[in-house]
Assembly symmetry: C2
Homo-oligomer: 493 residues x 2
């Protein structure tokens, strides 16, 4: 694609100044409109080294309200950042509704560096696939994010001239602190990598825009126009969407997975339970230490019926662990802040550091459970969530995180008994709320949702374990046993 | 204090078990009550090495709902953590209303390590004063936090036995990863440091509790009792407070500082402005680079009248900077999440990393401005805020951060003209809201609040600059000039 770009175009000074003033005002007012409409915007600048992106971004943001945007750079990738999955940084620093994130190179830089062979020691960390990139962008654009990708292009000759100029001003000083690779010496090689990138990631929802910065002023005006166009599109689509109806095929058949689980015979007596619990907890305690030494992190998600015994199982699991090495993240309905981001944002905030264990008491599956059943999410939203969740979990697993999910399965009668028991016990009464009774009325709708969830998201990278939980003792041991088995496999490697 | 502790007390197994069960249930129910009452709790465990704090904490938290607490360890202090002011970590990980933070050693460990001479290379970072510690704890307890400080005491003989046991189980493996100092070899020296710590930090609001862990079971029960007692006190105080009236001396006279500033002659024409602006921005641009190289961070806070020109001044300041090295933090009324913490919490979240610049568009001074005038804060709350803010800024400055504050001063007539001009300009109309007009009616109350703020918080560590801002050009240049001068002093050192 690069060879089709006209590098000779050059605005006259007068023309540039007039256009710049016009576009500045326009972009400022579009920023406010996007804020009002709640549109989150991500702009990523990728391109040749020496393309003066810094200067370009500086001129661009002059027209923006500084309270509404944030600039991030990937040349500052730290060791700390590389202890988390590749996309963590980008998820954690997502703009919220109405916010703008400008990425100086961003995820593409890291990938391209790896492709050319310029990435540093943490080699494999950089080696994400183009499919991962597309999945990341799609999850955002499907959710109403505007993703603008601008490639700053220039000739090899101009690149050399620019680099000489930069070196003269800064004496390579910035480079010492945040090395930008040696692509300046590798024009041909990088050219190939860029062409591959365009081929693989020029998608309908997040297309590439190539801007010639052979003349910086001309490039700046072009970048302005692209961003303005993207914001205008987003604003007009927001208006359309309000009247837009989503047609979804409802006849996707899903097997009755829950129906396969027999609960009645999964029983264990208190004495054997106590013995085995102690044994398993000791085993887990040692394992936690081994996992910590190897830097292997864990994400364990618990879902299940109300009164299904999530809390009790979590307590027995964490009871085996050193409290410095784990955290339990309770997940309730999203608050206003969380709601101003993509629904996955808040879970990325709690991805564990190397060697640590993150337990989720309820999870990101709320999207396809309560949000589906209660219609808090639109049909198209929860439908595409299966893929988005699989992608997220796959990225975690690829980074080496052990991902495990439990569904605590009890039957309707057992739930009734537990609700009643809670109501009658002054020490447990706090556990039961009118919501619990209301949810119970929607049992069948939940069964459908759970079956579809298990069907679509039980992956090798992040398997589901359905836990027969009518007997609490049996359930807790099954959870611990499952974790022990997974850890054994992981530690064997 | 340590020599008065009876190390021989020892519960019988039966007695221990009964008490443990009783206290477990009690603590669990108190945790729920504290959650409901919105009481945040911090428990810090300090004491001899080998005192089995890990085991003790593990047994304690068994009785807690894992969704309501978090355990932190200071033996894991990272290089990343030391790039921020000492208390950043503790502020950032404050429990919110109803939450419990358990600190395995916490701030005392770091201080004590330094006192004995065992702290590592980042020596000065550890060297906080006991006054800093007391100020930190007082800011929290005054705000309704319960701070429980437990010292785990044991004899030198028992310490040696425990260490041998620990080494046998873990083969010093945990120690390799998170070294705990060599205090085991230094019983006498540490004893002295601990006595000093008791003397300096055993305060009414956050007293020390010494617990003998010569026998771990006995120590555990004692720790339980202390925490339970603290929670019961907190709960009964919450009830009292509702009917409690605060008596405050209202006759604290404050000079009319704002009255000293003459605005009428602080004018500059557009041409000189443009020239000087360019010059100063270039100077700042170079300075940012030098500051970055030296790892010196900056916090700049902007306060001022509505339409006082904060936004414009910020834009001219940041316009000089590399966007990768600064962030502008807009400060609005706290949201629900922010309100569930101490009011300073959200500002600690944005303390800049070494070499970076954090700009605040409105600041923590909201406590003594809008919250005072609008009575969002009680009189005792905003009165003590002056000291709390001075303490916070002093800690930042001590860490080497350049702290600078601006008050944008215009007169009432100029404000009226600007409001009118905004109303009539379609490109600026968004800037003006009914709130602005309402605030204007309280001009005199704000003058009092601003005068008192300037009077009480203009410190050497964090000076105020009142900017005569009737002429925007003059104001912007004064802001830039002030920053340049401060940076010159800082860089000279």
């Amino acid at each position: 694609m690069l060879d089709k770009v006209n590098l000779k175009k050059r605005l006259k000074k007068r023309e540039y100044e007039t256009r710049y003033d016009e576009l500045s005002i326009k972009l400022g007012s579009l920023q406010r409109a996007a804020k009002e409409a709640g549109i989150p915007v991500m702009v990523v600048f990728e391109g040749w080294r020496g393309a003066m992106r810094g200067t370009l971004i500086n001129k661009l943001i002059e027209s923006l309200d500084p309270r509404g945007f944030r600039v991030y750079s990937s040349s500052k990738t730290t060791a700390q950042q590389r202890r988390f999955p590749f996309f963590s940084f980008f998820w954690q620093h997502l703009p919220n509704k109405g916010g703008i994130a400008i990425h100086h190179r961003g995820w593409y830089f890291l990938k391209n560096e790896h492709e050319v062979g310029d990435s540093d020691e943490a080699d494999e960390w950089y080696n994400i696939s183009y499919e991962d990139i597309n999945a990341f962008e799609k999850a955002l654009t499907d959710d109403g994010y505007t993703v603008v990708k601008i490639f700053t292009h220039l000739s090899q000759k101009q690149q050399e001239e620019n680099l000489k100029k930069i070196d003269k001003i800064y004496g390579k000083a910035w480079e010492d602190i945040a090395p930008g690779g040696v692509e300046g010496l590798n024009y041909k090689e990088y050219g190939k990598v860029y062409e591959k990138m365009f081929k693989k990631t020029d998608t309908v929802n997040a297309p590439w825009h190539i801007v010639s910065v052979e003349d910086l002023h001309t490039g700046l005006i072009a970048a302005f126009e692209i961003i303005i166009q993207a914001l205008e599109n987003a604003l007009s689509q927001t208006k359309e969407k309000k009247t837009h109806k989503v047609v979804i095929n409802k006849d996707l058949s899903v097997p009755d997975i829950l129906g396969n689980y027999v609960l009645s015979d999964k029983i264990i007596d208190k004495k054997s339970y106590s013995e085995k619990l102690k044994e398993m907890q000791q085993r887990l305690s040692t394992m936690q230490f081994e996992l910590f030494k190897k830097g292997i992190a864990t994400i364990v998600g618990f879902e299940g019926w109300d009164a299904g015994g999530k809390g009790g199982a979590i307590k027995r699991f964490t009871g085996a662990l050193d409290p410095l090495g784990y955290a339990v993240n309770p997940v309730a309905a999203p608050n206003a802040l969380e709601n101003s981001y993509n629904y996955l944002w808040r879970f990325w905030q709690h991805v564990p550091n190397s060697g640590e264990i993150a337990v989720f008491d309820r999870t990101w599956y709320g999207r396809v459970l309560v949000e589906r059943v209660e219609r808090f999410a639109r049909v198209d939203e929860w439908r595409r969530a299966y893929q988005e969740i699989n992608d997220m979990e796959a990225q975690w697993a690829k980074h080496g995180i052990v991902v495990q999910k439990f569904w605590m399965q009890i039957d309707k009668e057992e739930q009734y008994n537990r609700f009643e028991a809670r109501e009658n016990d002054p020490n447990k009464k706090w556990k039961i709320t009118p919501d619990d009774w209301r949810n119970r009325d929607k049992w069948d709708a939940y069964v459908d949702a759970v079956n579809e969830m298990l069907y679509r998201t039980d992956t090798k990278a992040a398997p589901w374990t359905v836990v027969e939980a009518n007997c609490k003792y049996y359930a807790r041991l099954k959870v611990l046993e499952t974790m022990i088995k997974r850890y054994e496999e992981v530690l064997k490697k």
